[in-house]
Symmetry: C2
Subunit: 370 residues, 2 copies
């Protein structure tokens, strides 16, 4: 390393290196197939974006079922006068429906998926889709038996434009071989003006714990960007540092991962302060043998406007990419997968590997005193 | 969490939140004491900044000793015609010298420090100061017996203006209670035009491994910002992903920590690419119960000029602080510590706790295949 004076002169000298600014683009995937789908489970408003994504991808929404009256009212407000099924079975027994999407209470999602697959349909669930290793084994068994798809909407990669662009860059070898991924994923419990969280939000029994829940997005990114097909948890920690009135809640978690494609680290927390203005300053750092990528997904804190910021540094230069115009491929890819029995939008094994990692991490986590 | 459309509207809406820009200042510590010091060991050019810091703090450089001829020539070029001692003993036996500073080969530093303390002098070493747990026990014993100081120059906090400012903010409660620290500390092996690394750089036997070496800066920050007095390593990993011609080198390491003041995570690597223009895009993230701080210490990649960038978000607002004008207190504080037998500049126990953590992390690290 340089001594500090040398560092300073280099920091000044550095400004001579030009920074390239680009408006990033990526391959546009047009919807080419059509499939009828229904929605079961409206307990998290993620169902709005999941439904909209299916519609954009060629999905035709035919009916909805939920016992959650407010969820139904909100869903109708957003998607118009969608037919309400009299029961879950009405949807499951409708042979014209090829896909069921849902965002019920997390500990009900896996069993619903198994029922859906056993009725010959594919399933797309909000994350976390599975909250225990026992459920995961049941899901894998049902996939083997039914040959249907159990997809999990890891939206923090699949529905984030900068994350899509990062995937393209990594695949093209822009930073060499990926060595490690770091996800810093703070979330906000209640944005000013938002609805209060439901009771299940505060109880790990229902949502599986912080690593299982918001950690699953991050484990998905580790698996995807490292390309790991085999991976394990080196260590994990969870804690409840500042929500002592909710003893079954976890407001902090982290995990260290390693796989056959590289290493990974994930931190999740519920400490986003109101002064940020968005729900979380989500970051992804990809270290490669020949460069690195940073994503500022939802905000460039005290910096540029909007979200979807990508910085890439390689052996030659530093580039800033505005990814706000990148097209999201998941919707059309997934609808085509449903029609063609393929797994382009999401690799089934990797989707479940990500979930397996967080379930193991949750189970073995050291509980931090606070 | 919001659904994606809501997110987007909030991202746009966010820009209504004003971001406060400040030129940060911090308490200025003037040199008030004087102490004679000598330098032993010139094998890393960190000795330049260490020596300059002591001089700025009130230290009077009286002599130097090293067997490294190039090191001596460079030292003379930088600090003028400093007297070269005939032997280490000449310095150790000079009762006028109160302090010895050094940057020898890492595995020689602890033993030198013990000899220095046994001659009634204080010691300030480049990091890593200690490369084994056995040496650490010897150092602690010597401190107890001699009542002298074994200080370690963790320059990535002590000599970084933004890091000094962050310490002030944390102490003032600006982000509530610290929950976790994350250090991402990429380093560059050779900047364009720099001297080749010496042989000892490539062999963990001499430098202790990547966590012991550049990780020690980061463990120091974890201990300092969380205020931990008791801490342990949850898990650690090391690997040599891309330097297979140097089989005893480690180019990647990470460690998960927990202490009585909070949690910590550290990633270190030697993958800084040439296109960055500085030796490393060092980051520090401090998550608190009421806000967070991010430091971009040496560069704001594809962003603002120079180094020492601090972002702080609390429940009310987001602030950007340019810390380039903050005064560094370590030099004057440390010289006063030498004179007054105090530990203001660096807590002796915490300095050694940081080293203990990295030595344990190094010892228990899982070796990643690559």
């Amino acid at each position: 390393m340089m001594d500090d004076l040398d560092r300073r002169s280099l920091i000044k000298g550095m400004m001579a290196l030009p920074v390239v600014h680009e408006i990033a683009s990526a391959e546009i995937v047009e919807p080419t197939d059509k499939a009828k789908f229904a929605v079961i489970g409206l307990d998290h408003n993620h169902i709005f974006s999941i439904t909209a994504t299916m519609q954009r991808g060629g999905g035709e929404l035919v009916s909805v079922y939920s016992k959650n009256a407010k969820g139904l009212a909100d869903f109708h407000k957003r998607f118009g006068d969608v037919k309400v099924a009299a029961s879950e079975d009405e949807i499951l027994n409708d042979p014209s429906i090829q896909l069921v999407a849902g965002a019920g209470i997390p500990d009900q999602r896996a069993q619903l998926g198994i029922r859906v697959m056993k009725h010959g349909k594919d399933y797309l669930t909000d994350k976390p889709g599975i909250v225990s290793l026992e459920e995961l084994a049941e899901v894998r068994k049902a996939i083997r038996e039914t040959k249907r798809t159990f997809a999990i909407m890891y939206s923090e990669r699949l529905e984030v434009k900068a994350a899509v662009k990062a995937g393209e860059l990594v695949k093209a070898g822009a930073i060499g071989r990926v060595v490690q991924t770091v996800n810093l994923a703070p979330h906000q419990i209640n944005q000013p003006g938002s609805d209060a969280r439901p009771d299940w939000f505060w109880d790990t029994k229902h949502y599986g714990g912080i690593l299982c829940d918001i950690g699953s997005h991050q484990a998905d990114q580790f698996v995807f960007y490292t390309g790991s097909t085999v991976a394990d948890v080196t260590a994990s920690q969870v804690g409840n540092f500042n929500h002592h009135d909710k003893p079954n809640f976890q407001d902090f978690g982290d995990m260290m991962l390693h796989g056959n494609g590289g290493a990974g680290y994930v931190r999740v927390d519920w400490f986003t302060p109101n002064g940020l203005g968005v729900w979380g300053d989500g970051r992804l750092f990809l270290v490669g043998t020949e460069g690195y990528i940073e994503l500022r997904k939802y905000i460039d804190v005290a910096g540029r406007k909007g979200g979807n910021h990508l910085m890439i540094v390689d052996q030659k230069q530093t580039r800033y990419m505005d990814c706000s115009e990148v097209a999201l491929p998941f919707g059309p890819q997934f609808i085509s997968d449903v029609v063609n029995r393929t797994h382009v939008a999401q690799d089934q094994e990797q989707a479940l590997l990500a979930t397996e990692l967080v379930l193991k991490a949750q189970k073995k986590a050291i509980r931090l005193e606070s």
